[in-house]
């Protein structure tokens, strides 16, 4: 297995990425798991500045000169320029040179570049990112957390199907409880797109538990919580910010032990990165503020996902669901009415 790591992606690049790659290899050696190779991809002259020495045959450097022209900081120039590091790495992945690509760079650019270079799985109209968040009943998968912003009923249904496959394969739970996030629990109330998707999910073979409201998420009412990327992103980042709130409360309490548990449970560095679900390949999206530890965790995640055969399973699940009349119904309704407000 060969994992490409975007050397200059992320707020702490390239230091955190280089150290994270070395840490991942060390951890794999120590735990005795099957070995893999890491290729750091990026501008060679810039990498040289950081005094890099190949530490082992498993860590190589691939020079992708920074494209001339527009600032590489803006999303369009990174994603639209075929010569950018992320696109080159993803193209090499699609050609078989790598088994996965890991990046802590701009999420928007990586999503767009992944769609352009890897293309979408059959039946997927919009890829999604799932993220695990803690609940009283174990970790639940929130999907989508920002691959796109607004979702039609058809998109929500696809997120549910992809999230179901991902949760099932990763957590070994054959029938995760699928919930659809909404502002009300009644099947007729709330956002239009959610109401339409509810109808489709009710007729699907998924273990659909209906609408979940905000409070049902931390209570652990569903294993997979389906939502538009706009809401999912706000919620995920809110959760990420909670330790800042509780550190304030902890200072006025006589013990900080619960605070340490909370901070650890909510620490995004533990999760590392998550795959963009619905593209033909393994594109692992990391937090922009990733550190050495989270980069290493993301590399292990890339290895795990690469061995899972996830995309074929997603395609099969979508094919199965395509037979349902409800999806055709929703597909039309989605395009026609999905983006309008309730009234």
């Amino acid at each position: 297995l060969r994992i490409a790591l975007d050397a200059f992606g992320g707020d702490n690049a390239p230091r955190a990425n280089i150290d994270g790659a070395k840490l991942a290899l060390k951890q794999a050696l120590e735990s005795g798991t099957e070995s893999f190779e890491i290729a750091l991809v990026g501008d060679g002259r810039q990498l040289e500045k950081f005094g890099l020495e190949p530490v082992s045959s498993q860590l190589s450097f691939i020079d992708i000169p920074r494209p001339k022209g527009r600032s590489p900081k803006s999303l369009p120039s990174i994603a639209e320029n075929p010569e950018s590091a992320i696109r080159t790495a993803l193209r090499m992945h699609s050609q078989g040179d790598f088994d996965a690509v890991v990046s802590a760079g701009s999420t928007g650019a990586q999503v767009l570049a992944s769609i352009l270079e890897l293309e979408r799985c059959q039946g997927v109209s919009r890829p999604a990112i799932g993220a695990f968040i803690p609940t009283a009943g174990g970790n639940c998968l929130l999907i989508d957390v920002g691959a796109s912003l607004v979702a039609t009923p058809m998109h929500l249904l696809q997120f549910a199907i992809m999230g179901n496959v991902y949760f099932r394969e990763l957590m070994g739970n054959p029938s995760p409880r699928i919930g659809l996030l909404n502002v009300a629990a009644e099947a007729y109330a709330g956002e239009h797109a959610a109401i339409e998707a509810h109808r489709g999910l009710s007729e699907s073979r998924l273990n659909f538990v209906g609408f979940v409201e905000g409070r049902d998420v931390p209570a652990g009412k569903a294993d997979v919580v389906v939502v538009s990327g706009l809401i999912g992103n706000v919620l995920l980042k809110y959760i990420e910010g909670l330790p800042a709130l509780f550190s304030k409360f902890a200072s006025i309490s006589d013990s900080e032990s619960l605070y340490r548990v909370i901070a650890e449970k909510l620490d995004f560095h533990t999760f590392g990165g998550e795959p963009l679900l619905g593209v033909n390949g393994v594109s692992i999206i990391c937090h922009g503020a990733s550190n050495e530890r989270s980069v290493a965790a993301a590399i292990h995640q890339a290895v795990r996902i690469s061995r899972m055969g996830l995309n074929r399973k997603i395609e099969d699940a979508l094919k199965e669901s395509a037979d349902l009349v409800s999806i055709q119904h929703i597909k039309k309704a989605g395009f026609r009415r999905g983006l309008r407000p309730r009234r």
Copy 2:
């Protein structure tokens, strides 16, 4: 002052409402604040079943017979029926019989009924509900949390102006920091409606601190966080559910003191209820699961808001802002493009 309380609104009605009314009067008596009257409004025959006795001259019962026909549980029948208890109470309020109406019934029905009976303040196209949530920098006002779901740039701008007045008057902070919730911090990135509203807010006289991301909310980066009702509602309810999550963690830690602080800070019963901002009157919306304590808190909130002259101040603030060219610009952009996705 005379406050109408919807006797049969809420999951714990009428018991919690009756007990809450008595508690509020007792608290007012004990604290020596200016006195007020409470009128419990609802179906008299049903109230009789609960063996009600007038406890004082300050607590009266007003019989509003339950309208015949459709089930009063559905939103349209409650809000669209002029004879429903909530509409009758609001109509009596608009005619001067009451100074405020408090209800723990359906939020959707109360919003619609308030718009129909009280009408909107001059310049307000969509009323909003603000709710206080704890942050590391004190309580912040999240607006809107569900008076409507999807918001155009113009609506977001109005939420900001109304939230600014409300926070200023209630908290005595002359220039609260206004933040606009988005998935990114850059002025050009994220949801289209947010980007357009950002432009208008930048040109306003408000103390606008720009986009805030999910994690900035608990960190306390803004005093007023402006957002569409769909996202605000999900976030508010998520926060409400956090004690369930942390009670789980607390059991594995050696002390529960921080948990008690968290549970208390996040307890919605403390807040009682919030006014529907932007209607000509005082319509206090309570949590459906309100108990005796939160109903009493909502009644005190109704008394406070009634004495504040909030609506005139909101109208003045909107009039002031209407002069800005930016608002006209946004108004058009909002109707034309506000509801479309980013791409």
